[in-house]
């Protein structure tokens, strides 16, 4: 029992360790020549954005997997990834705004990537909203998987439309809103380690979130199988006082 509990906690340990390493590197790496210390925000913003896209892709794979196999395990993967994805998408947007304000003086820059991430956030949110409308796991899985496929296949088109729209409306002399490319090796390392650390965080959260889904499903199954008195048995036929 003790070994079981210890084994179950490894995802949390993994999260703490990987983030500790990434954080150290982010603080130790040099400041950027143009952005100064603000570049350190990139070491969490870029990984968060990367995870947002990864999680979205995994939800797509899970949706396709369910549609093909009708095995609920695929649906659990899709759902867990969607919830974690919403979180990281929101975080990426928040961090993008926190970076933009001191850099550009505005919270929102309407550049292609930020706008696309915001749209993706709402696609995810809609997916989660849809799941909340059904209790039946099979119906829920079926509907979610179709929406998951629809959303994922539309995203490339959304991407193109937003990118084209921005190239038409942004003067080419403007510096890329997400800053100049990072070239210093220590800075590049900090960025890559950040991405790796966040990927570990994603994987650990997935393990735990899927565990929670399975527990919830088991709880629902138990509740439904318990013998309970039928509610109608609490009501008796009214005595109308008529002589029989």
């Amino acid at each position: 029992m003790q070994a079981q509990t210890r084994n179950r906690q490894w995802p949390w340990v993994a999260i703490v360790l990987s983030l500790a390493v990434a954080f150290t590197l982010s603080m130790v790496s040099p400041a950027d020549s143009v952005q100064g210390d603000l570049v350190r925000i990139m070491y969490v913003h870029v990984p968060a954005a990367w995870l947002a896209y990864l999680a979205f892709f995994v939800t797509f794979v899970g949706s396709v997997g369910y549609l093909i196999t009708k095995d609920l395990r695929w649906d659990r993967i899709a759902a867990a990834s969607a919830e974690i994805g919403v979180y990281f998408t929101g975080l990426a947007i928040a961090l993008g705004m926190i970076w933009a304000k001191p850099t550009w003086g505005v919270w929102w820059t309407w550049d292609a990537r930020l706008t696309l991430t915001a749209i993706m956030f709402f696609v995810y949110l809609g997916y989660l909203a849809l799941r909340r409308t059904t209790d039946d796991p099979v119906v829920r899985a079926g509907r979610s998987s179709v929406l998951g496929v629809l959303g994922a296949l539309q995203i490339p088109l959304v991407h193109f439309s937003v990118v084209w729209w921005r190239t038409l409306h942004q003067p080419p002399s403007l510096v890329r809103p997400d800053g100049p490319a990072i070239q210093d090796p220590l800075m590049l390392t900090a960025l890559i380690v950040g991405v790796l650390a966040f990927t570990v965080v994603y994987g650990s959260l997935m393990v735990k979130r899927i565990e929670l889904i399975k527990l919830d499903d088991r709880k629902v199954a138990i509740e439904q199988s318990i013998e309970r008195p039928v509610a109608g048995e609490a009501v008796t036929v009214p005595d109308l006082g008529a002589s029989s």
Binding site: W12, I15, L19, F23, G36, D37, L38, R40, I41, V44, H45, A48, Y87, L91, A94, L95, I98, W99, K101, P102, V201, L205, K208, R209, E211, L212, L215, D216, R218, K219, I222, E223, I226
Partner: protein, 40 residues
């Protein structure tokens, strides 16, 4: 606000929200295990 102030803000938001999110999963797992343990 200074640049380091913004960086601190960003990292607080990051680790703070991650802690809340991960923590909520952990708490929900514990509560669900308990309620299953009660009925089994």
């Amino acid at each position: 606000m200074s640049d380091w102030g913004w960086v601190a803000f960003a990292y607080t938001v990051t680790y703070g929200s991650l802690g809340v999110f991960a923590g909520s999963i952990a708490v929900r797992i514990r509560n669900t295990r308990r309620s299953i343990g009660e009925t089994e």
